[in-house]
Amino acid sequence: MLDREELRRQEDALDELYRDIILEHYRHPRNRGSLPSPTVVKEGDNPLCGDEVRLELLVEDGVIRDVRYQGQGCSISQASASMLTEAVRGLTLQEALDLYQRFHRLMIGDEAVDTTDLGDLEALMGVRRFPVRVKCATLAWHVLEEALKELGVVKR
């Protein structure tokens, strides 16, 4: 009665959503905490599901020297925040904005976007098969965008 082929497809999708690397970031978050004197602090939440992310950036000479996050929520939202902190450390503000835009377009299903050199972030691409969970993956990135906006970084 059960369609084995279909079950395998579903299992694959679930494996894609909960890739080991995502669960690893969720269980052992990177850069969790706060900075002694951050340049900018931004918070965001998803009131409908209760996910929260707070991001602190230390910026020197237009470069993100250090970054920390705090938050609570599902594995996808927190793993995405953890990955974000690793991905943006050392980037110029403009590079960080570019990465935000690339990530955001990827998550909303834009096929034309280059997916090379995404590092751990590549693992989040499986979330796209679960439309209701995309907002979990993008929460931290919207907080980053807000932070960059406050720093006066604008789209090229």
């Binding site: 579903q10 679930l14 599901c49 209760g50 599902c74 594995s75 679960f130 969970r133």
Partner: protein, 425 residues
């Protein structure tokens, strides 16, 4: 509550008097489908129920055979449609023990029923310094309209709090809550968030003794247990058709006749008038003065089929079935390591709703994983944000039962939770 047919004539009742769930399930086409390659286990009934063929066919039959606008049509179709629409009103009145069909107002949903009272009764009776008593456990639909009204009128809201078992903390009742300024007690019958059944009859009786108007949000009780408005004693009762086997888009406001009579209309325009001149208008009688514009005729008529179905099952038996499911589910879930289950432990004090959390899995992750096993539950705040804050959580996972759920489905739920934990561990 009218009596259902004796069991020997009723195909939905087993010889031992319990519901024949296998027979019931045959009437619900959606239960045949698969989700992600597995049979659907639908445990999100507190959000909305599934629909039997009898309801689906009543809806289709209306559009196929006698679709017409109601109330002033001279032609045959209009007469048939009017009769069917008004027949549902009479069925609803009988179903909840209302003294007359004229106490029944059709609206879109429970939220609109409560808003109708907030606007049409509240604006005329609530003034500066007056008090409205609600509970911290209310669904947002029985909280936000009162907050708005209080803000607009300079009135005050008093909240009945929650104890450690998610029952109402009635310490100091009634005088800690009901004061000479209290004008309204608005209270849910069964908590949609954690399933607690509140002692509504006692609270309503005390309030009415003090001359306070009472509204009961019956969205989670009327579909699941016998509810008789005259026994309950409330002035208003609000509930929704879609949570009780009926279609979406139909809500019910029961109101005591005298109150409905003296209330001004909520919406105005067509259907709700008796005479219109260039200078003004006279309102139609209750309940029609509250039903402005063409109502949701088709869905109201199909709702009549849902009530027939529930009457055939018998609400005592529906309640007994849910008690059995809930007792079994609580016993099985309690065996899971570190699970936190909210609400009172006594099944007699709870509806067929089980809200829980597992320490290591966020409710949304659990929801996604259970969905993969074909199990539909709800996760999140359940429109109970103040209650969730009180529980110290962002949300919970919630399984909720209805007439077609089985003990085997509870087993599948428990098994799937185990699988989900293994994956995220």
């Amino acid at each position: 509550m009218s009596e259902s047919a004796p069991s020997r004539l009723n195909p939905y009742v087993r010889p031992d008097g319990a519901l024949d769930v296998a027979r019931i399930r045959q009437d619900f086409p959606i239960l045949q489908r698969q989700v992600h390659g597995r049979p659907l286990v639908y445990l999100d009934n507190a959000a909305t129920s599934q629909k039997p063929v009898q309801v689906i066919e009543a809806l289709s039959d209306f559009y196929r055979r006698y679709n017409a606008n109601i109330h002033r049509a001279i032609h045959c179709l209009g007469e048939e449609a009017t009769a069917a629409y008004e027949e549902t009103r009479a069925k609803v009145a009988r179903f909840i023990g209302a003294p007359s069909p004229q106490c029944i107002v059709f609206v879109r949903n429970t939220t609109e029923a409560i808003n109708l009272v907030a606007y049409a009764w509240g604006r005329a009776h609530i003034g500066p310094g007056d008090e409205i008593v609600v509970t911290e456990m209310e669904h947002h639909s029985n909280m936000v309209p009162w907050q708005r009204l209080a803000q607009e009128k300079g009135a005050r809201i008093r909240y009945i709090g929650v104890n450690a078992q998610q029952c109402l903390d009635l310490t100091g009742w009634p005088h800690a809550f009901l004061t000479p300024r209290t004008k309204l007690l608005a209270i849910g019958h069964v908590s949609n968030g954690v399933g607690t059944i509140h002692p509504v009859k006692e609270l309503v009786a005390e309030a009415r003794r003090l001359g306070i108007v009472t509204l009961v949000d019956g969205a989670q009780s009327v579909p699941h247990m016998p509810v008789d408005v005259q026994d309950l004693g409330c002035d208003f009762l609000a509930f929704s058709a879609h949570k009780m086997l009926g279609p979406t888009g139909v809500g019910v406001l029961y109101g005591r006749r005298e109150l409905l009579e003296e209330m001004e209309p909520f919406l105005s325009g067509g259907e709700m008038i008796s005479r219109v001149t260039l200078e003004g208008a006279q309102w139609a009688e209750v309940p029609w003065k509250f039903e402005a514009g063409t109502p949701n005729i088709a869905d109201v008529i199909a709702f009549g089929a849902a009530i027939d179905y529930l009457q055939m099952l018998g609400m005592e038996r529906v309640r007994a079935h849910e008690v059995e499911l809930t007792r079994y589910a609580l016993a099985r879930l309690r065996q899971l390591e570190d699970i936190v289950i909210y609400g009172p432990p006594d099944v007699e004090r709870r509806g067929g709703v089980i809200s829980f959390n597992l320490p290591e899995i966020h409710p949304h992750d659990l929801g996604t994983l259970l969905d993969y096993y074909g199990v539909a539950i709800r996760t999140g705040h359940h429109c109970n944000q103040p209650l969730m804050r009180r529980l110290g959580v962002a949300g919970t996972a919630r399984a909720s039962f209805y007439v077609y759920n089985t003990l085997e489905e509870v087993d599948i739920l428990v098994e799937a939770i185990g699988q989900a934990r293994a994956r995220l561990r």
